[in-house]
Symmetry: C2
Subunit: 255 residues, 2 copies
Amino acid sequence: MEYKEYIEKFFNQGHKHYLSHISIDCVVFGFHENELKVLLLNMKNLNSWVLPGGFILKDEEMETAVKRILTERTGLTDIFLHQFQTFGGLSRSSFTVPELFFKNLQIKKDSWMFDRFISVGYYALVEYSKVKPIPDILSEKCEWFNVHDLPELAHDHRHIFDEAWQSLRFWINHYPIGYNLLPEKFTMPDLQKLYETILDRKLDRRNFQRKMLATGILNRLNEVKPGVAHKAPYLYTFNIAAYEKTLKTGFGFAL
Amino acid sequence: MEYKEYIEKFFNQGHKHYLSHISIDCVVFGFHENELKVLLLNMKNLNSWVLPGGFILKDEEMETAVKRILTERTGLTDIFLHQFQTFGGLSRSSFTVPELFFKNLQIKKDSWMFDRFISVGYYALVEYSKVKPIPDILSEKCEWFNVHDLPELAHDHRHIFDEAWQSLRFWINHYPIGYNLLPEKFTMPDLQKLYETILDRKLDRRNFQRKMLATGILNRLNEVKPGVAHKAPYLYTFNIAAYEKTLKTGFGFAL
DNA sequence: TCAAAAGTGTTCCCACTACACCCATGG
DNA sequence: CCATGGGTGTAGTGGGAACACTTTTGA
């Protein structure tokens, strides 16, 4: 039984490979059908939902660990990451689970997994359509949820999610966004929907367009979106050079 | 020899009391004679300067640990704290020191202190005049430095400092500042100097005053600063209720 | 009495807001 | 041919930037 063996090794030997007391929790945002989505895992035997997360190998950069974890869950490489907060509460016990979980498993009572964890929170922005959600060994499901319709989350993960979303809302007032959330070609209404969804409020169509064009991070293509009713909107791509530059310097406007 | 005993116990037994692999580094800002200052420690026998820092007890909230550490270094309680970033680089080896340091000490080669550390960065804002800098057991000096004239810092502490200052500069565009950096009564020029020092640029005297008064976080007293040449400026205090409220909501202007 | 510092008010301008009109397309 | 959605222009406004004059006081 591969699962049993893996779990036992992970609980009983994991501290030899991973930094103890430190975990990573990720809030993975995607955008699909005008909805902001978050990737969640369902723990085996527990029926509880959690954020994707993991641990740092002893000889691994922290950010490399985050990318490794997210690549395992999404199949993507080159993911936009933002470290938004580190959670150090005492009450955020990492792994209190019913005995049920351990039926048939031989796990030491002093496993590193039962220790207290400080968790570094990252949010990630990914292109929904490219993600193939993959459960980890402890989970049986890995699914997208609308941010307005999340299930109950275990531990302090609801709090972590709230902080991530708030941080994202703050961020988009100062730095460009979208390159990692939209397909390569997109329309101005697409981009606006993305902003409206993240900010959770309506924006003026005309002012939005003017501001966005003023940033200089967009290229308007000589194409319009095919196969749509009514007037077809232009397609845009991001001007990567300008986009990257603005990611460093930021811009000043607020939506 | 108390020192020897303490150090040996700390290196050889510390992992029983503290979370391993996790440290805290603090950038303590003070304001004095129109200069922005930072508190640094000089390590015994090493003559290298470092940021004040420490570790988290196993049953201690992370923020409590930070406060404990800073109370030990400054004598202050109730310090303004802001967690600005967590550093997880591989190269930031926590404690690589010359053998010299360990002369006469019996320290195990596998001490937890030689492990790799992830460090949570906080900056603190304190009232310079109230601080009594106190070295820790590993240090022989604890001193203020002008931010423009820092000595070379060990490990990645220069990088941590740079990130802290940058974060502080960003912060003051969105949230009030000064309550923790200025004496209870201060003048508008004092407050402006503080802003100018943190932002590292000149601000217009008249526009600054108008904006500050517009925030509603200041009380003008019916007193002027005594014993100054030329026209005496009014004294102000912070309106704590409004200040605290704005700390939560933020304000929108940029300087 | 004068230099230096502080208090206050005014103008200008830009950027954000709130709107209205025209255009293109598929049903 | 018309309803729907997308592209563009404009007038109004509020806040920030730039700036000048007056007031106070010690040297």
